[in-house]
Amino acid sequence: MSVTSAAPSAPGFRLSQLIYDTRYRSTTIQIFALFAFMLAIGWLITNAAQNLAALGKDFDFSFLWNTAGYDVNQRLIEYSSQSTHGRAAILGIINTLVLALVGCVTATVLGILAGVARLSKNWIVARLMTVYVEGFRNVPVLIWIIIVVAVVNESLPQPRAYKDVETGAFVFTNRGAYMPEPLFSRGLGDLDLGLFKVSLDFVAFLIVLGGGVYAMRLIRRWANQKQAETGVRPANVGWIEAGVIVLPLAALLIALGFHLGYPELKGFNFAGGIFIRDSFLGLWIALSLYTGAFIAENVRAGIQAISKGQTEAAFALGIRPSRTMSLVVLPQAMRVIVPPLISQYLNLTKNTSLAIAVGYMDATGTLGGITLNQTGREMETLLLLMAFYLAISLVISLVMNVYNERIKLRER
């Protein structure tokens, strides 16, 4: 070669290389970015310190151990107005999680039903579901929450309307709904864990249920093995599996003296039974319907993403339509459906913070609402609140990443 790329005649390092030489430029940019970021954070913290000092405030979380002095209307752990702000916050967090949990379950059921129905060949059902999905997706969830709570409050009868009426197991009043509660006449009592109490009856129930499921899986494995060896499945395995779960549970419930406590009208209100508040009921229904509409779209997209050739191939192999759905289409569709489904769960959990608009005491209502206003510690309460939601969302993202990793298509 006549033209050689002459090596730069080693001029030593020049300062301008920091900007014009691609070898150094990225480092320069990063150092500047970090410097600017530190500067901004420092500026914010200095300002905050100055402002707090000017107001005579400090940055201190000890208010969490002070008496809260306010009541919370839904208590799943022991709480009174004499409890601390910290306990009120925990109660709020529990209320948030309960609402999010039941909301996710019903939203999933609704969403799958609506998503499948929207693809139905039945013209009128498909149109109705389109109206449902579009109607809920295009209107703010807060409007739905307020409407549903208003409907519960204004269209359901007052408790005293049931005065001389025989009430059944379920009662719906404008203050909320009542349903039967499980009671144990020979109960085991509670286990005090310090922060809250756990019913030993419930623990015993879970242990027996877990044991039953474990036994059932052992039996199923044995039956599968038998079938693989001999080609004949042992008789009545299904019944044995069901019996292994149901019979011990029934024995436990009889031993504990299980019976249902029904709601009864005492004075102006109902007593007994499990009480579901109007605000909880409204939030639950509205969030489920709203998130269900989004999940329906995800389900529809997931099913439509599976190419028709998959179904046709399964039919060509002589697989029945129901088995085609469960063995061929759904396992593939799940890969498309689940990630957006989990982010819908995340959205629902974050939307539970709208509870503050209808007076349900979730974490935003206790920690970010009354505690904030009573103690005047905006910075500490809001930091805790955001940390709580951030923790939930990070846990959910973690679950999603693990799931995505497990179902990822293994290619080559």
């Binding site: 970090l34 905050a48 703010p140 409407i147």
Partner: protein, 447 residues
Amino acid sequence: MSETHAETAFARKAPIAFVADGQIPASPPPSSAVGPVKWARDNLFSGPVNSILTLVSIAFIVLMAYEILPWFLDSSWAPAEMSLAGCRAEASGACFAVLVERFWQFFFGFYPAELHWRPTLAFLIVVVAIYPALFSSAPRQLLIVTALAPFACYWLVWGGSIWGPLAVLAAPVIGWAVSHYGGKPITAIVGEAFGPLVTLIVAVAAVLVWLLFLVSPVDEALYSIIPLGIEVVPSNKLGGFMLSLIIGLVGITGSLPLGIALALGRQSKLLIVKALSVGFIEAMRGVPLITLLFVASTLLNYFLPPGTNFDLILRVCIMVTLFASAYMAEVIRGGIAALPKGQYEAGDAMGLTYWQSMRLIILPQALKISIPNIVSTFIGLFKDTTLVIVIGLLDPLGLSSAIRANQAWNGIVWELYGFVALFFFIFCFGMSRYSQWLERRLRTDHR
């Protein structure tokens, strides 16, 4: 051949009664296989399950109509006494009188009635400004309106001296002037190598100094010389759909560029830039908007220099923009990640710089494939503007609560919330239809 010919000839000569001399016309299909009956059989009653579903659905629709139609038909629009009791005395159905009475409040909040023309004009300017951004067939000259619209609308809605918006508008001019005329002297001072960079830094610094420290004195000085302005309307008078639209539009226009920047940051090879972007995006997406609104209303002032106190609506707009930009970043990142690696390599092979290949190759394609998700983020953002009720702003929902608390309208539900829901539905549904249209229009593959 000849045989058939002979036959026809024969037939023509002497028709035989039992031989058909033409084709029998097709008989009409049985009535069960055509028309509405066939359609209903296929689509509504194709099996026992489907038939039951159809009947249940029809029963549901009939029930709904039975409940809702009388409510609509027996409605009261202008009763003698403007209250719920007045409505009930006149008709048993809906009481739309509340909408008649509070109509303008729903649109403008407590904005002075004689000044309603100002936000209306601002809205028209926004419509004209958005038009060229939405439809590429629009004349390009309209983009000038788009560039000027934010300043004009701010001035029209909040009022005050005209010199403030004009001074802000002068910032880009100043930046241009510094970089154009200051280039040579600066290069002479710092040397050839650093000239362009230092010029850029000086220009940006000049713009920042102008915006942060000089705009308001200049505004005041000019106003004292030439008092050109319109009546000031304080922020607490703003409300209704106007407020939702202001927050929504600011959020939408702000979150797209910010989201693109964050998405590029997250995809960047620079570790620190990437970590900062990821941290910001995850933190914003991990918390509910309500907590950020609380931050805007109670906490933001703590982090600013003592004595700063700026408008609540502006603070809310900033927070909503930051919140939406994190979602936007994730949507756009999805689009960028979906592009095949060959596109980047092609850009590199052409010798394009990072910014050139992003601007000319990557982003146009990435934005195109993320249109549906970008628009659904916009829709989500617009719906989320209703949350400002929790910090006491009078958006349509806040107004509805205020009206329900009023003695005269106590107990009214569906009329108010139905109206607000209809408003949001029209806007959000319109946006989603537009995105579908745009998707079809930008499709370049052969289908």
